[in-house]
Symmetry: C2
Subunit: 227 residues, 2 copies
Protein backbone atom coordinates (compact mmCIF):
# COMPACT_ATOMS: atom_id res chain seq x y z
CA UNK A 1 0.00 0.00 0.00
CA UNK A 2 2.93 2.35 0.73
CA UNK A 3 6.33 2.09 -0.83
CA UNK A 4 9.12 4.65 -0.83
CA UNK A 5 12.44 4.32 -2.60
CA UNK A 6 15.43 6.52 -1.72
CA UNK A 7 13.05 9.14 -0.37
CA UNK A 8 14.82 12.37 0.57
CA UNK A 9 13.44 15.55 2.18
CA UNK A 10 15.61 18.59 2.88
CA UNK A 11 14.56 21.80 4.66
CA UNK A 12 16.59 24.82 3.52
CA UNK A 13 16.75 28.17 5.35
CA UNK A 14 19.25 31.03 4.75
CA UNK A 15 22.02 29.51 6.76
CA UNK A 16 21.33 25.91 7.39
CA UNK A 17 20.24 22.88 5.43
CA UNK A 18 18.54 20.11 7.37
CA UNK A 19 18.20 16.68 5.83
CA UNK A 20 15.07 15.45 7.56
CA UNK A 21 14.81 12.25 5.47
CA UNK A 22 17.85 10.67 3.88
CA UNK A 23 17.26 8.04 1.18
CA UNK A 24 14.49 6.25 3.06
CA UNK A 25 13.20 2.93 1.80
CA UNK A 26 9.95 2.25 3.61
CA UNK A 27 7.31 -0.30 2.74
CA UNK A 28 3.99 -0.93 4.44
CA UNK A 29 1.61 -3.72 3.42
CA UNK A 30 -2.13 -3.26 3.61
CA UNK A 31 -3.42 -4.18 7.07
CA UNK A 32 -0.13 -3.67 8.91
CA UNK A 33 0.35 -1.80 12.17
CA UNK A 34 3.79 -0.19 12.09
CA UNK A 35 5.28 1.72 15.02
CA UNK A 36 8.00 4.29 14.42
CA UNK A 37 10.40 5.40 17.14
CA UNK A 38 13.47 7.58 17.29
CA UNK A 39 15.02 10.60 18.98
CA UNK A 40 13.64 14.09 18.78
CA UNK A 41 14.34 15.71 15.43
CA UNK A 42 15.21 12.50 13.60
CA UNK A 43 12.49 12.80 10.95
CA UNK A 44 9.44 10.93 12.30
CA UNK A 45 6.82 13.66 11.75
CA UNK A 46 8.42 14.50 8.41
CA UNK A 47 8.10 10.86 7.31
CA UNK A 48 4.42 10.77 8.33
CA UNK A 49 3.73 14.07 6.58
CA UNK A 50 5.36 12.85 3.38
CA UNK A 51 3.70 9.41 3.45
CA UNK A 52 0.40 11.16 4.17
CA UNK A 53 0.84 13.45 1.14
CA UNK A 54 0.75 16.53 3.36
CA UNK A 55 4.25 17.44 2.24
CA UNK A 56 6.37 16.92 -0.87
CA UNK A 57 9.72 15.18 -1.30
CA UNK A 58 12.93 16.39 -2.89
CA UNK A 59 14.23 13.13 -4.32
CA UNK A 60 13.18 9.57 -4.62
CA UNK A 61 9.96 7.76 -5.41
CA UNK A 62 6.78 7.24 -3.52
CA UNK A 63 3.99 4.88 -4.50
CA UNK A 64 0.68 4.99 -2.61
CA UNK A 65 -2.11 2.48 -3.38
CA UNK A 66 -0.12 1.48 -6.45
CA UNK A 67 0.13 5.03 -7.82
CA UNK A 68 3.38 6.93 -8.13
CA UNK A 69 2.59 10.13 -6.24
CA UNK A 70 5.94 11.81 -5.67
CA UNK A 71 5.32 14.44 -8.32
CA UNK A 72 1.71 15.16 -7.55
CA UNK A 73 0.73 18.75 -7.00
CA UNK A 74 -1.25 19.87 -3.93
CA UNK A 75 -4.65 19.35 -5.53
CA UNK A 76 -3.79 15.85 -6.69
CA UNK A 77 -2.40 14.98 -3.27
CA UNK A 78 -5.54 16.32 -1.55
CA UNK A 79 -7.71 14.13 -3.77
CA UNK A 80 -5.73 11.02 -2.90
CA UNK A 81 -5.84 11.88 0.85
CA UNK A 82 -9.62 12.23 0.96
CA UNK A 83 -11.23 9.14 2.33
CA UNK A 84 -7.97 7.24 2.29
CA UNK A 85 -5.87 8.82 5.02
CA UNK A 86 -6.76 9.96 8.53
CA UNK A 87 -4.27 11.97 10.61
CA UNK A 88 -3.67 12.40 14.29
CA UNK A 89 -1.14 15.24 14.25
CA UNK A 90 1.45 15.80 16.95
CA UNK A 91 0.06 19.30 17.63
CA UNK A 92 -3.50 18.16 16.92
CA UNK A 93 -4.12 20.81 14.21
CA UNK A 94 -7.69 21.36 15.31
CA UNK A 95 -9.38 24.35 13.76
CA UNK A 96 -9.92 26.98 16.45
CA UNK A 97 -12.93 28.54 14.73
CA UNK A 98 -14.82 25.27 14.55
CA UNK A 99 -16.50 23.50 17.44
CA UNK A 100 -15.49 20.01 18.51
CA UNK A 101 -18.44 18.61 16.51
CA UNK A 102 -17.51 20.58 13.39
CA UNK A 103 -13.83 19.58 13.62
CA UNK A 104 -14.77 15.91 13.69
CA UNK A 105 -17.37 16.36 10.93
CA UNK A 106 -14.95 18.01 8.51
CA UNK A 107 -13.55 14.88 6.79
CA UNK A 108 -17.11 13.74 6.05
CA UNK A 109 -17.99 17.12 4.54
CA UNK A 110 -15.03 16.78 2.17
CA UNK A 111 -16.34 13.35 1.21
CA UNK A 112 -19.85 14.75 0.65
CA UNK A 113 -21.31 12.23 3.04
CA UNK A 114 -25.10 12.73 3.37
CA UNK A 115 -26.25 14.68 6.44
CA UNK A 116 -27.97 11.85 8.34
CA UNK A 117 -24.99 9.53 7.89
CA UNK A 118 -22.59 12.36 8.86
CA UNK A 119 -24.48 12.92 12.11
CA UNK A 120 -24.47 9.25 12.98
CA UNK A 121 -20.75 8.83 12.34
CA UNK A 122 -19.70 12.01 14.15
CA UNK A 123 -21.79 11.12 17.20
CA UNK A 124 -20.33 7.60 17.26
CA UNK A 125 -16.75 8.93 17.12
CA UNK A 126 -17.45 11.54 19.85
CA UNK A 127 -19.05 8.95 22.11
CA UNK A 128 -16.19 6.57 21.58
CA UNK A 129 -13.64 9.21 22.60
CA UNK A 130 -15.84 10.33 25.53
CA UNK A 131 -15.94 13.92 24.38
CA UNK A 132 -19.61 14.11 23.36
CA UNK A 133 -20.55 16.36 26.25
CA UNK A 134 -18.16 19.01 24.95
CA UNK A 135 -19.19 18.89 21.30
CA UNK A 136 -20.21 22.54 21.17
CA UNK A 137 -17.02 23.82 22.74
CA UNK A 138 -14.08 25.23 20.86
CA UNK A 139 -10.64 23.63 21.02
CA UNK A 140 -9.29 26.39 23.27
CA UNK A 141 -11.88 25.53 25.85
CA UNK A 142 -10.52 22.02 26.25
CA UNK A 143 -7.63 20.52 28.15
CA UNK A 144 -4.60 19.20 26.23
CA UNK A 145 -5.72 15.61 26.50
CA UNK A 146 -9.29 16.47 25.53
CA UNK A 147 -7.99 18.15 22.36
CA UNK A 148 -6.03 15.05 21.58
CA UNK A 149 -9.12 12.91 21.90
CA UNK A 150 -10.94 15.20 19.45
CA UNK A 151 -8.02 14.76 17.04
CA UNK A 152 -8.37 10.99 17.32
CA UNK A 153 -12.15 11.19 16.74
CA UNK A 154 -11.56 13.25 13.60
CA UNK A 155 -8.96 10.80 12.29
CA UNK A 156 -11.23 7.78 12.57
CA UNK A 157 -14.66 9.23 11.67
CA UNK A 158 -14.44 8.53 7.93
CA UNK A 159 -12.94 5.07 8.46
CA UNK A 160 -9.95 5.74 6.19
CA UNK A 161 -7.73 3.00 4.72
CA UNK A 162 -4.66 4.35 6.47
CA UNK A 163 -4.32 6.15 9.79
CA UNK A 164 -1.15 8.13 10.47
CA UNK A 165 -0.84 8.80 14.18
CA UNK A 166 1.92 11.13 15.39
CA UNK A 167 2.31 10.63 19.16
CA UNK A 168 -1.42 10.02 19.68
CA UNK A 169 -1.02 9.38 23.40
CA UNK A 170 1.60 11.98 24.36
CA UNK A 171 -0.80 14.18 26.33
CA UNK A 172 -2.95 11.44 27.76
CA UNK A 173 -3.03 9.66 31.09
CA UNK A 174 -2.69 5.89 30.93
CA UNK A 175 -6.41 5.15 30.91
CA UNK A 176 -7.05 7.43 27.94
CA UNK A 177 -3.81 6.32 26.28
CA UNK A 178 -4.87 2.68 26.53
CA UNK A 179 -8.28 3.60 25.08
CA UNK A 180 -6.67 5.22 22.03
CA UNK A 181 -4.51 2.14 21.53
CA UNK A 182 -7.57 -0.05 21.84
CA UNK A 183 -9.32 1.92 19.11
CA UNK A 184 -6.29 1.78 16.80
CA UNK A 185 -5.96 -1.97 17.41
CA UNK A 186 -9.62 -2.60 16.63
CA UNK A 187 -9.43 -0.55 13.45
CA UNK A 188 -6.35 -2.52 12.44
CA UNK A 189 -8.10 -5.84 13.09
CA UNK A 190 -10.85 -4.56 10.78
CA UNK A 191 -8.30 -3.95 8.00
CA UNK A 192 -7.17 -0.37 8.50
CA UNK A 193 -3.42 0.16 8.01
CA UNK A 194 -1.88 2.00 10.99
CA UNK A 195 1.43 3.86 11.08
CA UNK A 196 2.10 5.32 14.51
CA UNK A 197 4.93 7.43 15.89
CA UNK A 198 5.40 6.95 19.59
CA UNK A 199 7.98 7.51 22.31
CA UNK A 200 6.45 4.76 24.40
CA UNK A 201 8.06 1.33 24.00
CA UNK A 202 4.97 -0.18 25.56
CA UNK A 203 2.66 1.32 22.98
CA UNK A 204 5.11 0.59 20.15
CA UNK A 205 4.62 -3.10 20.93
CA UNK A 206 0.96 -2.87 19.85
CA UNK A 207 2.24 -2.75 16.28
CA UNK A 208 3.38 -5.82 14.40
CA UNK A 209 6.63 -4.10 13.45
CA UNK A 210 8.76 -1.39 15.08
CA UNK A 211 10.87 0.83 12.83
CA UNK A 212 13.67 2.90 14.34
CA UNK A 213 14.66 6.16 12.68
CA UNK A 214 17.85 8.03 13.35
CA UNK A 215 19.07 11.18 11.57
CA UNK A 216 16.56 10.74 8.75
CA UNK A 217 17.34 7.07 8.10
CA UNK A 218 15.71 3.81 9.07
CA UNK A 219 18.31 2.05 11.17
CA UNK A 220 16.56 -1.04 12.51
CA UNK A 221 13.30 -2.86 12.11
CA UNK A 222 11.97 -5.42 14.58
CA UNK A 223 9.09 -7.71 13.95
CA UNK A 224 6.90 -8.11 16.98
CA UNK A 225 6.06 -11.75 16.39
CA UNK A 226 2.52 -11.07 15.40
CA UNK A 227 2.92 -11.99 11.72
Amino acid sequence: IIQTSNLTKIYRTEEIETTALNNVNFKVEEGEFVSIMGPSGCGKSTLLNVVGLIDTIDNGEYSFLGKEVSKFNERQRANVRKGNIGFIFQSFNLIDELTVYENVELPLLYLKTPAAERKEKVNAALERMEIMHRRNHFPQQLSGGQQQRVAVARAVVANPKVILADEPTGNLDSKNGDEVMSILTQLNEGGTTIIMVTHSPTYAEYGNRVVHLFDGKIVTENLNGKF
Copy 2:
Protein backbone atom coordinates in the same frame (compact mmCIF):
# COMPACT_ATOMS: atom_id res chain seq x y z
CA ILE B 1 5.93 29.89 49.30
CA ILE B 2 2.54 28.84 47.84
CA GLN B 3 -0.62 28.36 49.80
CA THR B 4 -4.17 28.07 48.52
CA SER B 5 -7.25 27.78 50.64
CA ASN B 6 -10.57 26.54 49.22
CA LEU B 7 -9.46 27.64 45.77
CA THR B 8 -12.22 27.31 43.16
CA LYS B 9 -12.12 27.96 39.40
CA ILE B 10 -15.19 27.58 37.19
CA TYR B 11 -15.33 27.95 33.39
CA ARG B 12 -18.75 29.10 32.18
CA THR B 13 -20.00 28.90 28.60
CA GLU B 14 -23.59 29.30 27.32
CA GLU B 15 -24.68 25.83 28.16
CA ILE B 16 -22.21 24.22 30.44
CA GLU B 17 -20.41 25.09 33.61
CA THR B 18 -17.14 23.27 34.28
CA THR B 19 -15.65 23.30 37.74
CA ALA B 20 -11.99 22.92 36.91
CA LEU B 21 -10.84 23.43 40.55
CA ASN B 22 -13.07 22.62 43.49
CA ASN B 23 -12.07 23.98 46.90
CA VAL B 24 -8.39 23.10 46.52
CA ASN B 25 -6.07 23.39 49.50
CA PHE B 26 -2.53 23.24 48.16
CA LYS B 27 0.66 24.14 49.95
CA VAL B 28 4.21 24.12 48.63
CA GLU B 29 7.22 24.95 50.76
CA GLU B 30 10.21 26.74 49.33
CA GLY B 31 12.65 24.28 47.77
CA GLU B 32 10.14 21.46 47.24
CA PHE B 33 9.75 19.42 44.06
CA VAL B 34 6.07 18.49 43.75
CA SER B 35 4.69 16.24 41.02
CA ILE B 36 1.03 16.45 40.05
CA MET B 37 -0.80 13.61 38.31
CA GLY B 38 -4.35 12.89 37.31
CA PRO B 39 -6.62 12.02 34.43
CA SER B 40 -7.16 14.22 31.40
CA GLY B 41 -9.40 17.17 32.18
CA CYS B 42 -9.10 16.94 35.95
CA GLY B 43 -7.69 20.41 36.45
CA LYS B 44 -3.87 20.06 36.38
CA SER B 45 -3.12 22.81 33.83
CA THR B 46 -5.75 25.01 35.44
CA LEU B 47 -4.05 24.59 38.83
CA LEU B 48 -0.66 25.48 37.36
CA ASN B 49 -2.08 28.50 35.56
CA VAL B 50 -3.74 29.77 38.73
CA VAL B 51 -0.70 29.13 40.95
CA GLY B 52 1.43 30.81 38.29
CA LEU B 53 -0.82 33.91 38.28
CA ILE B 54 -1.60 33.41 34.62
CA ASP B 55 -5.26 33.00 35.47
CA THR B 56 -7.62 34.24 38.15
CA ILE B 57 -9.72 32.31 40.63
CA ASP B 58 -13.44 32.53 41.42
CA ASN B 59 -13.38 31.75 45.12
CA GLY B 60 -10.90 31.08 47.83
CA GLU B 61 -7.55 32.51 48.84
CA TYR B 62 -4.13 32.32 47.35
CA SER B 63 -0.93 33.46 49.01
CA PHE B 64 2.30 33.58 47.00
CA LEU B 65 5.63 34.52 48.68
CA GLY B 66 3.61 35.61 51.68
CA LYS B 67 1.35 37.96 49.72
CA GLU B 68 -2.36 37.42 49.26
CA VAL B 69 -2.69 37.58 45.48
CA SER B 70 -6.15 36.19 44.74
CA LYS B 71 -7.59 39.63 43.97
CA PHE B 72 -4.67 41.03 41.99
CA ASN B 73 -5.39 42.45 38.59
CA GLU B 74 -3.45 41.41 35.49
CA ARG B 75 -0.78 44.08 35.89
CA GLN B 76 -0.16 43.22 39.52
CA ARG B 77 0.00 39.51 38.67
CA ALA B 78 2.46 40.16 35.83
CA ASN B 79 4.73 42.08 38.20
CA VAL B 80 4.76 39.23 40.69
CA ARG B 81 5.46 36.68 37.90
CA LYS B 82 8.51 38.51 36.59
CA GLY B 83 11.68 36.95 37.84
CA ASN B 84 9.82 34.70 40.21
CA ILE B 85 8.05 32.17 38.00
CA GLY B 86 9.18 30.28 34.93
CA PHE B 87 6.71 28.26 32.85
CA ILE B 88 6.99 25.26 30.63
CA PHE B 89 3.51 25.20 29.09
CA GLN B 90 1.79 22.09 27.83
CA SER B 91 1.50 23.58 24.34
CA PHE B 92 4.84 25.39 24.68
CA ASN B 93 3.39 28.88 23.92
CA LEU B 94 6.43 29.90 21.92
CA ILE B 95 6.02 33.10 19.98
CA ASP B 96 5.97 32.28 16.28
CA GLU B 97 7.30 35.68 15.20
CA LEU B 98 10.39 35.41 17.36
CA THR B 99 13.39 33.23 16.71
CA VAL B 100 14.48 30.51 19.12
CA TYR B 101 17.08 32.94 20.57
CA GLU B 102 14.54 35.73 20.99
CA ASN B 103 11.99 33.43 22.62
CA VAL B 104 14.52 32.36 25.24
CA GLU B 105 15.76 35.94 25.73
CA LEU B 106 12.29 37.35 26.41
CA PRO B 107 12.12 36.80 30.20
CA LEU B 108 15.44 38.62 30.56
CA LEU B 109 14.20 41.57 28.51
CA TYR B 110 11.23 41.90 30.88
CA LEU B 111 13.69 41.92 33.77
CA LYS B 112 15.83 44.56 32.05
CA THR B 113 18.89 42.36 32.32
CA PRO B 114 21.92 44.08 30.74
CA ALA B 115 22.79 42.96 27.20
CA ALA B 116 26.07 41.17 27.92
CA GLU B 117 24.54 39.21 30.79
CA ARG B 118 21.47 38.44 28.64
CA LYS B 119 23.64 37.00 25.89
CA GLU B 120 25.61 34.85 28.31
CA LYS B 121 22.52 33.43 30.00
CA VAL B 122 20.61 32.77 26.76
CA ASN B 123 23.61 31.00 25.21
CA ALA B 124 24.05 28.87 28.34
CA ALA B 125 20.38 27.82 28.32
CA LEU B 126 20.45 27.04 24.56
CA GLU B 127 23.64 24.99 24.92
CA ARG B 128 22.21 23.11 27.85
CA MET B 129 19.12 22.15 25.88
CA GLU B 130 21.22 21.32 22.80
CA ILE B 131 19.29 23.69 20.56
CA MET B 132 22.02 26.30 19.99
CA HIS B 133 22.53 25.35 16.36
CA ARG B 134 18.90 26.30 15.65
CA ARG B 135 18.86 29.61 17.50
CA ASN B 136 17.98 31.64 14.42
CA HIS B 137 15.12 29.41 13.38
CA PHE B 138 11.48 30.07 14.10
CA PRO B 139 9.36 27.66 16.18
CA GLN B 140 7.54 26.35 13.12
CA GLN B 141 10.82 25.19 11.69
CA LEU B 142 11.43 22.86 14.59
CA SER B 143 10.21 19.41 15.49
CA GLY B 144 7.77 18.96 18.41
CA GLY B 145 10.48 17.88 20.79
CA GLN B 146 12.82 20.67 19.68
CA GLN B 147 10.07 23.21 20.45
CA GLN B 148 9.69 21.68 23.86
CA ARG B 149 13.39 22.04 24.56
CA VAL B 150 13.17 25.73 23.61
CA ALA B 151 10.26 26.07 26.07
CA VAL B 152 12.41 24.52 28.81
CA ALA B 153 15.33 26.85 27.98
CA ARG B 154 13.03 29.86 28.26
CA ALA B 155 11.66 28.69 31.60
CA VAL B 156 15.05 28.35 33.23
CA VAL B 157 17.01 31.25 31.66
CA ALA B 158 16.15 33.82 34.34
CA ASN B 159 16.67 31.32 37.17
CA PRO B 160 13.25 31.97 38.72
CA LYS B 161 12.27 30.98 42.27
CA VAL B 162 9.51 28.69 41.05
CA ILE B 163 9.27 26.64 37.88
CA LEU B 164 5.86 25.38 36.79
CA ALA B 165 6.27 22.58 34.27
CA ASP B 166 3.17 21.24 32.49
CA GLU B 167 4.07 17.90 30.90
CA PRO B 168 7.64 19.02 30.13
CA THR B 169 8.60 15.64 28.66
CA GLY B 170 5.44 14.67 26.79
CA ASN B 171 6.96 15.12 23.32
CA LEU B 172 10.44 13.93 24.11
CA ASP B 173 12.23 10.63 23.66
CA SER B 174 13.67 9.12 26.79
CA LYS B 175 17.15 10.60 26.41
CA ASN B 176 15.83 14.12 26.07
CA GLY B 177 13.18 13.48 28.73
CA ASP B 178 15.84 12.34 31.18
CA GLU B 179 17.88 15.45 30.36
CA VAL B 180 14.96 17.74 31.19
CA MET B 181 14.46 15.90 34.47
CA SER B 182 18.15 16.22 35.22
CA ILE B 183 17.94 20.00 34.71
CA LEU B 184 14.87 20.33 36.91
CA THR B 185 16.51 18.20 39.63
CA GLN B 186 19.67 20.30 39.57
CA LEU B 187 17.69 23.53 39.77
CA ASN B 188 15.77 22.08 42.71
CA GLU B 189 18.97 21.08 44.49
CA GLY B 190 20.04 24.71 44.03
CA GLY B 191 16.89 25.94 45.80
CA THR B 192 14.38 26.41 42.99
CA THR B 193 10.87 25.24 43.83
CA ILE B 194 9.50 22.90 41.14
CA ILE B 195 5.86 22.00 40.49
CA MET B 196 5.53 19.57 37.63
CA VAL B 197 2.53 17.98 35.94
CA THR B 198 3.33 14.65 34.38
CA HIS B 199 1.64 11.52 33.13
CA SER B 200 4.77 9.50 33.72
CA PRO B 201 4.92 7.69 37.07
CA THR B 202 8.66 7.33 36.58
CA TYR B 203 9.22 11.04 36.20
CA ALA B 204 6.74 11.84 39.00
CA GLU B 205 9.10 10.00 41.36
CA TYR B 206 11.78 12.65 40.80
CA GLY B 207 9.72 14.92 43.04
CA ASN B 208 9.68 14.64 46.79
CA ARG B 209 5.87 14.53 46.83
CA VAL B 210 3.24 13.32 44.36
CA VAL B 211 -0.18 14.97 44.42
CA HIS B 212 -3.09 13.29 42.70
CA LEU B 213 -5.91 15.40 41.30
CA PHE B 214 -9.28 14.11 40.28
CA ASP B 215 -12.28 16.17 39.14
CA GLY B 216 -10.70 19.40 40.38
CA LYS B 217 -9.81 18.10 43.84
CA ILE B 218 -6.66 16.82 45.45
CA VAL B 219 -7.46 13.25 46.37
CA THR B 220 -4.16 11.79 47.59
CA GLU B 221 -0.68 12.92 48.38
CA ASN B 222 2.32 10.59 48.65
CA LEU B 223 5.65 11.55 50.04
CA ASN B 224 8.48 10.04 48.10
CA GLY B 225 10.73 9.46 51.06
CA LYS B 226 13.07 12.21 50.14
CA PHE B 227 12.08 14.57 52.93
